[in-house]
């Protein structure tokens, strides 16, 4: 049993409040990813779960006991660090066996367990090497082996892939996800990379400024971001945002800003009429060569499987649309475009909360 619960957890460092009272439940066997910009409190939250930091107030619950005052080593969890924290003066074998040695396991058993863990991570040939002699990907596997050998019920990971190059990082994502399925343990993973969060997580916790902005499945968060911040944080390129007013004419609710009028359908709460709001629309929800709105192409970024078209829709302001790669545009081209009405998001101008 390895559910994790956080109840009204606050962490202050002197005058700085890193975590401002968060509630969170992690299910047994879940792959949960804490994501957010640097300084949002995600690492502090992870460190409080691990026990490396003590919460200023609130409760941390692992299984069904409150662990606020329990030493990290007695919480039954394993952690992979951003810099991996492999001990440079020990061989890979000694690194992996460290936790077992601490528990004074018999030497024969240690050998077996280390071999099994190393085998699972495909690093058997490395056992007698030192961490400095391992490549980035190998070191990553050693760090994972060192964690799984202790058989923890909870895995904590603090941006473990950030030191890898882009290609390897993508491969390791797949591997981590496979590892999670194989071990059936609870994973709590911290990253600032939204793509990493999207690809691996069962559920994502988006944090900003010491608070949780949204908790949900990857696609829920992508499709229905709870706030302006979440909408902007997920997806590349960043969602297009327009500031304007909601008006109602002849029973038609419309978003109106300079150069753009966008019909919003019928699901808009009546009390929003007359309000100033932010409209967000993702690049893939702008259809080009359709509709009547005019724009002028300024920049094209071909991605191979699609192309990003940055165009001016009036004045100097730009929107970005993701189009099929067959559509070739050049800077200066005139295009027509329209928004997919059902995919438009409305956010409050002050608090940034979702309105529709």
């Amino acid at each position: 049993m390895a559910q994790i619960g956080l109840k009204k957890v606050v962490k202050e460092f002197g005058n700085f409040v890193a975590v401002k009272g968060i509630n969170l439940n992690v299910q047994d066997g879940e792959f949960l990813i804490l994501v957010g910009p640097s300084g949002c409190g995600k690492t502090t939250t992870l460190n409080m779960i691990s026990g490396l930091e003590t919460p200023t107030s609130g409760e941390i619950i692992i299984g069904n006991r409150i662990v606020n005052d329990v030493e990290p080593g007695e919480r039954g969890l394993g952690m992979v660090f951003q810099d991996l924290a492999l001990f440079p003066h020990m061989t890979v074998f000694e690194n992996i066996s460290f936790g077992l040695r601490v528990r004074k396991m018999p030497e024969q058993e240690i050998k077996e367990k280390v071999r099994m863990a190393a085998d699972a991570m495909h690093i058997l040939p490395l056992l007698s090497k030192r961490p400095a002699q391992c490549s980035g990907g190998e070191a990553q596997r050693v760090a994972l082996a060192r964690t799984i050998v202790n058989n923890p019920s909870v895995f904590l990971m603090d941006e473990p892939l950030s030191s890898l190059d882009a290609k390897l990082r993508v491969d390791m994502r797949t591997e981590l996800k496979g590892l999670h399925e194989r071990l059936n343990a609870t994973f709590v993973y911290v990253t600032h990379d939204q793509a990493e969060a999207m690809t691996m997580a069962d559920r994502i916790v988006v944090m900003n400024g010491g608070l949780i902005e949204q908790v949900g499945g990857p696609l829920d968060i992508y499709d229905l971001p709870a706030s302006h911040f979440v909408a902007g944080f997920f997806g590349t390129p960043t969602m297009n945002f327009l500031k304007g007013e909601i008006v109602s004419e002849n029973g038609n609710t419309t978003f109106s800003c300079p150069h753009i009028e966008q019909s919003l359908g019928n699901n808009i709460p009546k009390n929003l009429i007359g309000e100033t709001v932010t409209l967000g629309v993702r690049s893939e929800h702008i259809t080009v060569n359709e509709g009547s709105r005019q724009g002028q192409v300024r920049l094209v970024e071909p991605l191979g499987d699609s192309s990003l078209v940055f165009f001016e829709y009036g004045g100097e302001d730009r929107l970005v649309a993701k189009v099929a790669p067959e559509l070739r545009f050049a800077p200066g081209d005139q295009i027509t475009y329209q928004f997919q009405a059902a995919k438009c998001h409305l956010f409050g101008i002050n608090d940034g909360r979702r309105l529709n």
């Binding site: 691990s50 026990g51 490396l52 030493e71 990290p72 080593g73 007695e74 969890l77 394993g78 952690m79 660090f81 951003q82 810099d83 924290a85 001990f87 440079p88 003066h89 460290f98 936790g99 601490v102 528990r103 961490p131 400095a132 060192r146 202790n150």
Partner: protein
């Protein structure tokens, strides 16, 4: 077309040759400077060693003899024998008796033990300062302030305490007069105190280099503080500890002023003994002094060679790959 190619080849060839020549010239200049520097450094040592093999008349000849005219072991015989009377006027040494074996033992015991204790204390203090900010933010700088005091300023007051105040106090409290003056313990305590700031300062720079995550990782795997320090922290700063030990040992080994003030006749360190080789008629006895100087240097050199691997690692800091 072909001609052009050839001329380009020739130019490239010349450029390559030029670069190689330039590189060679730079190497020659660099080595010349280094050799000059080494000669400058090594010359006094050479002079000391060759003087130790010269007989009395030859110590101060002008122009100087670059190599001993008639190499002799008399100086070494003299410092290792107690029989001062035999060798005649020029060989008459000090008025006080001296004992090189005693002084060597004193020096080795005092310097080694006080360096080891200072290293032990300083390493743990440095760990506490680095990891727990003991003493506050400025402590790591103010800890060196103690070294700003010139030793001569503390030598005389310490003599008062060692020779008078402490015996008085112990007499009053314990009923027995215990003096720290002219004792190995007294000098060792002092050496520990004055070298501790150096140890803390040096060990801080090594310990600060170890990422916190190493200790965090060990802690999460269930290791306690002491276990982590023993298995993770200390092995990583071992080279630094060796370098620090050698540095402090040499400081103690060559220390003169405090030893001169606070010891003798019971306890004598080698630098103080060296200074005793003077005679009323001849002044300084350069030969025996050079012989002792040579002997004093040997252990330091041997130690340096033995721990060369650590020295290189320790002095180049940043040995931990992050």
């Amino acid at each position: 077309m072909a001609e052009q190619d050839i001329s380009r080849d020739v130019t490239a060839h010349h450029a390559k040759k030029d670069a190689a020549r330039k590189r060679r010239r730079r190497t020659v200049i660099r080595h010349a400077i280094l050799i000059g520097w080494a000669l400058l450094i090594m010359f006094p040592i050479y002079w000391m060693i060759q003087t130790s093999f010269k007989d009395a008349g030859e110590w101060v000849t002008w122009p100087p003899n670059w190599i001993p005219n008639d190499p002799t072991l008399k100086n070494y015989e003299q410092i290792f024998s107690f029989n001062i009377q035999e060798s005649g006027v020029a060989r008459q040494a000090t008025e006080q008796p001296f004992n090189i074996w005693g002084a060597t033992a004193d020096s080795i015991i005092i310097c080694t033990i006080s360096a080891l204790i200072a290293l032990f204390l300083g390493t743990f203090l440095a760990y506490a300062i680095s990891r727990y900010n003991v003493g506050g933010k400025r402590f790591r700088h103010s800890v060196l302030l103690i070294r700003m005091i010139p030793p001569i300023v503390i030598a005389i007051p310490l003599l008062m305490y060692y020779a008078i105040m402490i015996p008085l106090a112990t007499d009053a409290v314990l009923g027995a007069r215990i003096s720290l003056f002219d004792t190995r313990l007294g000098l060792s305590l002092l050496y520990i105190t004055i070298t501790l700031p150096f140890v803390i300062w040096m060990m801080l720079s090594f310990i600060d280099e170890i990422p916190y995550s190493f200790e965090h990782a060990a802690r999460i795997m269930g290791a306690g503080r002491i276990y982590t320090i023993r298995k993770v922290v200390l092995p990583l700063v071992a080279s630094g500890m060796v370098v620090t030990f050698l540095f402090v040992f040499i400081l103690n080994w060559a220390e003169f002023l405090l030893s001169l003030t606070l010891t003798h006749p019971d306890v004598t360190t080698l630098p103080v003994l060296l200074n005793k080789f003077q005679s009323a008629s001849e002044g300084r006895l350069y030969g025996p002094q050079a012989a002792i100087g040579t002997i004093i240097t040997i252990p330091v050199v041997i130690m340096g060679i033995l721990i060369q691997k650590h020295l290189i690692k320790g002095f180049s800091f940043g040995t931990i790959r992050k």
